[in-house]
Amino acid sequence: MSANNPSDLPVVSDRLAKNAMRNVSERLIEGLLLCAAAVSVLTTLGIVYVLVSESFHFFQNVSIVDFLTDTQWTPLFDDAHFGIMVLVSGTVVSSFVALAVAIPMGTIIAIYLSEFANSKVREVAKPILELLGGIPTIVFGYFALLVVTPLLQIILPELPGFSLLSAGLVMGIMIVPYIASLSEDAMRAVPMSLREGAYAMGSTRLYTAIHVVVPAAFSGLAASYILGISRAVGETMILAVAAGMQPNLTWNPMEPAATITSYIVQVALGDLPHGSIGYQTIFAAGLTLLLITLVFNILGQWLRAKFRENY
């Protein structure tokens, strides 16, 4: 085929036309992907907007000072009080109990799986552990109420039927798989050369795990703890079932109390008139919860950035 044959020209323009088609389809795909990404971003923005705007109405009726300092939470009574600290105390105490269980246990399991267990044990144990994370929290809630509370009452006879202690302990067990699994991933990502360096200095496995592997994986461990905290703060069903739902300003885990989340469940189930002050408390409580988890997420990001190891 000769180069200056005019019949070659349509071939060239064909190729151009195909390119144009390709550009259109590329644009189309890009647009679809953007839409998919936008859905999640817009949903988040929408949630924040609803929370903030409803809370704004709420704070027109209740001063922020009262909201933060009042020691009673009785939004549905005639003599209404709106002290969020009552609910925050329940959330803090139950989360504290849960983390006191989950952080040590999760870390120890992660150290065992990553540094001590042989590959056969790990292959069996890790999926089972992760299965524990798939149990619906309502099941954990009834487990706390019907098994753990009676067991605890044997040791602590004065423990009431509903308590933050029992709900918190079970919540801790629920969080263990998350912390253990993420921490184990972080520790396994520590390069073997670092471990070999430690062993070559004459360290034992335990010394290597504690003094070299854990510090090297610290950013990942911190991230897993923060995730655990977020799970504990946001957990609802276990607390609604096993911790009782009466608002109670207390720092004693042996008492029943409502948390922010269990209060929202309780009130959202009732038939509150739309736009009433009781209705708006849901959003004010929700906004408080959002702010608490936001603080922990930011803390988590900061820890990750500060302690990131580059190999």
């Binding site: 670092l194 360096g197 070559a200 004459g202 360290s203 580059n310």
Partner: protein, 259 residues
């Protein structure tokens, strides 16, 4: 080889075989390591020189399925390092190691050097200070590090990190120091510094060094062993190996016709 010409023995491999599972990686190695000398192990990739080196501090024990046969005798006490009755941790207390890629721990410069001492239960601040300074001076990094001892070791440059790793190994006064291609990740200037250091260190400690770089072997070592496919082909004084190799295969390798 006339033994009486040679200095005292520090270690000796006797009929050493090593297996990665079924695969035989070292074949009947017999070789002396002389006290306070530098012995270089050379040979093409996969010839078993690193495998051999890592037998001296029982690094292979860390992974399942590895098996030693034969002995590595360690002097003056004539211990068999490979004996199943000898605790690998005891072996590693006496034999230090510097790796191919600098691997400082995620700790301060000071704590990196103090690591081995702390493992051995030393927690007296004054003793630690003293030994850390001594080790950093021994590894020729004291001047660069003395004002930043509490900084993270990862802030150092690659060459500095490698000298820190040497200081870390020196701090516990090992009898034998293993170097596994210590300069392969470093630039020429950092490499020259490490080579100079190796030369200096042999006054204090016996050194066994694996290197890919034949000029390096020629520059730093007193003795050289050429390995090929898991076998020890030739061992002798470095000058003799490089000037008048006895084995054809050694000659091919050092003249660049192979490898």
């Amino acid at each position: 080889m006339q033994i009486h010409d040679n200095p005292a023995l520090k270690a000796e491999a006797r009929n050493l075989n090593f297996f990665y599972g079924e695969a035989k990686a070292l074949k009947n190695i017999n070789m002396p390591i002389y006290d306070k000398k530098v012995t270089a192990l050379i040979g093409p990739s996969g010839c078993g020189k690193s495998t051999y080196l890592r037998s001296f501090n029982r690094m292979h024990d860390l992974y399942p399925g590895n098996r030693y046969e034969g002995e590595i005798r360690f002097f003056p006490d004539n211990t068999n390092l490979l004996s199943s009755e000898v605790d690998p941790i005891e072996v590693r207390m006496r034999v230090g190691m510097v790796f191919q890629k600098p691997n400082p721990f995620p700790k301060s410069i000071y704590e990196n050097v103090a690591y081995g001492l702390r493992v051995r239960g030393e927690n007296n601040k004054r003793v630690l200070d003293d030994k850390v300074e001594h080790a950093l001076k021994g590894a020729a990094i004291w001047d660069e590090a003395k004002d930043r001892l509490s900084e993270l070791a990862s802030n150092l440059s690659g060459g500095q990190q490698q000298r820190l790793c040497i200081a870390r190994a020196l701090a516990t006064d090992p009898e034998l120091l293993l170097f596994d291609e210590p300069t392969s990740a470093l630039d020429p200037i950092a490499t020259a510094a490490i080579e100079e250091l190796v030369h200096e260190l042999k006054k204090r400690v016996t050194i066994l060094i694996v290197t890919h770089n034949m000029q390096q072997a020629a520059r730093v070592s007193d003795y050289t062993a050429y390995m090929y496919l898991g076998e020890m082909i030739e061992f002798g004084k470095t000058d003799e190996i490089f000037i008048k190799p006895k084995d054809k295969r050694t000659e091919d390798y050092i003249t660049g016709r192979m490898g």
